[in-house]
Amino acid sequence: MDLASMISFGILILAWMVLPIREPAVDSGAVSLEELRPSHQVD
């Protein structure tokens, strides 16, 4: 049981290291760059 619980936790940690975070679909028009920019940002 110790080993099984350690392995399961280890797999999760490994997954966080390797899983990519999908980019917002800017090109598809679902999200515009304007929407992504913080509203308080001054150019």
Binding site: M1, L12, L19
Partner: protein
Amino acid sequence: MAEISGADTAWVMVATALVMLMTPAVGFFYGGLVRSKNVLSVIMQSLFILALISVQWVLWGYSLAFGPDRFGVIGGLDWFALHGVGLEPNPDYAPTIPHQAFMIFQAMFAVITPALITGAFAERKRFKAFVVFSLLWATVVYDPLAHWVWGAGGWLKALGALDFAGGTVVHISSGVSALVAALVLGPRLGAGREPMEPHDATMSVLGAVLLWFGWFGFNAGSALSASGLAVEAFVVTNTAAAMGALTWMTVSWAHRGRPSVLGAAAGAVAGLVAITPASGFVTIQASILIGLGAGIVCYFATQIRDRLRVDDALDVWGVHGVGGTWGALATGLFATLAVNPAGANGLVYGEPDLLWKQGVAAAVTWIYSALATWLILKVVDLTVGLRVAEREEVLGLDATQHGEAAYQP
């Protein structure tokens, strides 16, 4: 006269207050997930149930659930309006605290269970129908089930099925009933065609963490004593919640490409659901595996529900029905007498018998909850009418059922 323990009594009273907090927490968890035009109606359902079942419980609910046994299936009405339920301990249930302390602790379980179902019929059920349904469901489904599993003389208890804090009585019953309710009511207008995104994810996360907080009372309070067993239940509860959150977030990340905040919150609830029946019977290592399993099976249950186009609006079946079933079966796998001499050893400890009993208890709860809920819904539909009119659904239940708005423009 039995000896009352001040420490045990104090802990059970605190635990009762913790469990009480869980019902409005359900309202906030669900409230954030619905559209802004329905948030008040969802919160009202939890608030109203807290009041409604508190009175039902002291009048007849407690007596039906825990009163003197009738044929293993129901308690008698000997304790109607709490006659005979005083400050003397009842050795059948909790020998070191006043009987009324046990009663009010159990009241909070009776309160939260129908509140869990409200997520399935959110955004389309008439308030009057909800009132009648909740009262009938508490009386016809919850009270007998509580007697079968926890009542002195209850037949599932006599069979040897274990349910420390409500995996079958609370979670399978509410989850399965939610599925039936969603099927009978039908989907919301526009479901599957229009976006129905959560209107306030922050509210839902706050609700989820309040549930996590209250769940310490739910599980550790079920030890009914300020004892080592309560501490064990407390630790496994936190561990399973944590593993459920981590696992759901990871599985949804692998599946959908991002670590979801609402996914982590739902995963924590799934882990809490799954550890509930097991919490006084399993080791801390087992709780890691139970939380892991909950994060996986409940996530995929919600995906299957979505594919089947059943509009269980807030995934009560996926989280509570499936998570409760996994928890009941996991108790049959991982329970050990080393944690609780009053329990039993599970399959991992060489005794397959408990797993069989857990399967029977889960199956019976599924079947009874489904049939009784279907019947109640049909009765309510024929008498009061289940669903709001289309126009009311479009305008939102806050305005049409309660005449109030959650947010001012």
